[in-house]
Symmetry: C2
Subunit: 346 residues, 2 copies
């Protein structure tokens, strides 16, 4: 598949790599012997919780922002986001000397608003709801001459997220790992579609699987039915970064063509994975970032059937993309509980 022919869009990963340079961190690939033993394979964590602004979103936001700067576009940036994308766009704008506006629903967490204002962006919440926020954002962008940066359905954003896959391919290559199973959190689809594009080209024997919260299984339903499914109501899950009602249109075209499997995990399984990441790996990971580890620990989907039917085909190397770490201690405390003993759910 020529990467330049997805719909009418241009996914240019090489340009994104060059453009991003050292503006984003090359995040480490971490390893835990304890998790290995628990999962029955070597488990690697691609630690995007260490990324700038706390999640992989910095990659796409910087790439999209820099494309505008390179083209001489003087406009400020507007993001619709209640979370990591807003922080990432605010950081990119601040660093590039552009104004930024983030449109968030009324009643958004004061903590998240404070985090975005910490990057000096203007936050607009008045009268904004989940259902009217796209319209309000479009009107505001037109009225104030701002450029909208979509959280996932934008080829420059997807190209930026694809650099996770490029780094991963190089890191795995240096370890001699050629055929890993790669578990990627799935919300709107920017991270999954970018990662699969990069890995299919650079590490063609990698198997890339998306992981969704069970309550937000639009991706799994879409892949099963062959057409993009929209959930009837907003999902409720601890993995707030993946609580989407449907995949982005461009993301879906890539995922449909390139991703073989999407699995789901329960909120309890996400809690068990968070427990492991906290108590054993000493990593601050937000619930959405724990989706891959939850799938590995619970051996969901084809992992379970592989293990049960023919252990010899069980993957020996599993990579979990740990997508972000923006959460409060109290959130993790609620999720993990107050025990250092293993949770029953694992």
């Amino acid at each position: 598949m020529p990467l330049s022919s997805i719909g009418d869009t241009q996914i240019d990963v090489d340009a994104a790599l060059r453009r991003l340079g050292d503006r984003v961190h090359h995040t480490p690939l971490l390893h835990s012997r304890l998790l290995d033993r628990e999962v029955g394979a070597r488990l690697w964590l691609k630690a995007e919780n260490f990324q700038r602004a706390g999640s992989f979103k910095a990659r796409g936001a910087f790439n999209a922002a820099l494309v505008g700067v390179e083209a001489g576009d003087p406009r400020g940036l507007l993001a619709i986001s209640s979370g990591n994308h807003g922080q990432a766009v605010a950081l990119a704008a601040a660093e590039l000397g552009l104004p930024a506006v983030v449109v968030m629903s009324e009643g958004s967490s004061p903590v998240k608003i404070a985090a975005i204002r910490g990057y000096r962006a203007e936050v607009v919440t008045q009268g904004v709801t989940m259902s009217n926020r796209e319209q309000i954002a479009t009107e505001l962008a037109a009225a104030r001459g701002l450029r909208v940066v979509h959280p996932h359905d934008d080829p420059h954003v997807i190209s930026g997220q694809a650099t996770v896959g490029c780094e991963l391919a190089a890191q795995l290559g240096s370890l001699g790992i050629e055929a890993p199973l790669v578990l990627v959190p799935l919300g709107g689809g920017g991270l999954l579609s970018g990662t699969v594009i990069a890995l299919k080209r650079l590490l063609p024997r990698a198997r890339v699987v998306g992981v969704e919260p069970a309550a937000s299984n639009d991706g799994a339903l879409s892949l099963a039915s062959g057409s993009r499914v929209t959930l009837s109501e907003a999902p409720r899950t601890v993995a707030d970064g993946a609580a989407t009602m449907r995949l982005g249109a461009i993301c879906w075209e890539i995922i449909k063509a390139e991703v073989e499997e999407i699995v789901t995990v329960s909120d309890r399984q996400i809690g068990a994975a968070s427990w492991w990441l906290w108590t054993r790996c000493k990593l601050v990971v937000e619930p959405t970032g724990a989706l891959g580890v939850a799938a590995a620990l619970a051996a969901v989907g084809s992992l379970a059937s592989l293990r049960d039917s023919d252990p010899s085909t069980y993957p020996s190397e599993i990579v979990c993309v740990v997508s972000g770490g923006n959460c409060l201690p109290s959130q993790i405390s609620d999720l993990v509980g107050s025990s250092l003993e293993e949770p029953e759910e694992v």
Copy 2:
């Protein structure tokens, strides 16, 4: 100073390095640009929170345990500890096939007891208090034929902890850093005395400073007075791993000879450091592990006078030994609060 002549003890760092091999992790030296900006120097974190059993204590425990095994000593191990040393001894014993008993005060946190039992050690608490626990442990060791592994005042334990300094010297050397300021948490003195022995030999221009909680300032008082000070009552501080009443005798001899400065930080400063480590670095660090970062952020002791009197002499490279990460989310939640905005205390 010949390392073999401290009192009648033998501190043999090279033997410890060889003995430990890959039994303990070579922990990474992490770096955060945000912390750099806050501190006004390049700040490095020696991440012993990623160490086996969650703290540097695994180094000393494994070294002491292996010395016994090499000498053909078949005895099981006994540790007095309410925390990390107990877990470390339990892990080392389990891995080497030795029984282990950990003596803890009645009323010790069930969470800590569970963690130690998780390594299959026997926990003894009945009738044990802070004041009688050494005596009970000695009697129990005699009655059951167990070998006592002291948490810090044992040359084999100090030699094990010294391997932190060896790794650090190699890591700093590869970065071209020759004269760092190294901030080391100080409780009983095992980590500080081991680290300073290794660094004075391997990186002689390094300046090693101990960091204590203000409520547990026996080390600072001792260095100021020139003789080992015992506090009149048990200190109360969030940094429970450093809540000691006096330094170990062997540790004190080394610290007196080799360490130029010991500084203290308040519990509020420890909370501010925990906030940075959590929200910005995404690291799970227990309060005691945050002591060095607290000192760097607060610019305590000679750091403050250097900065104020002659900024040109302010150190350009600061290393904080992050000693451990064994804590519950709820503890960090209580300490850090529920804000992603910068705490006022920084």
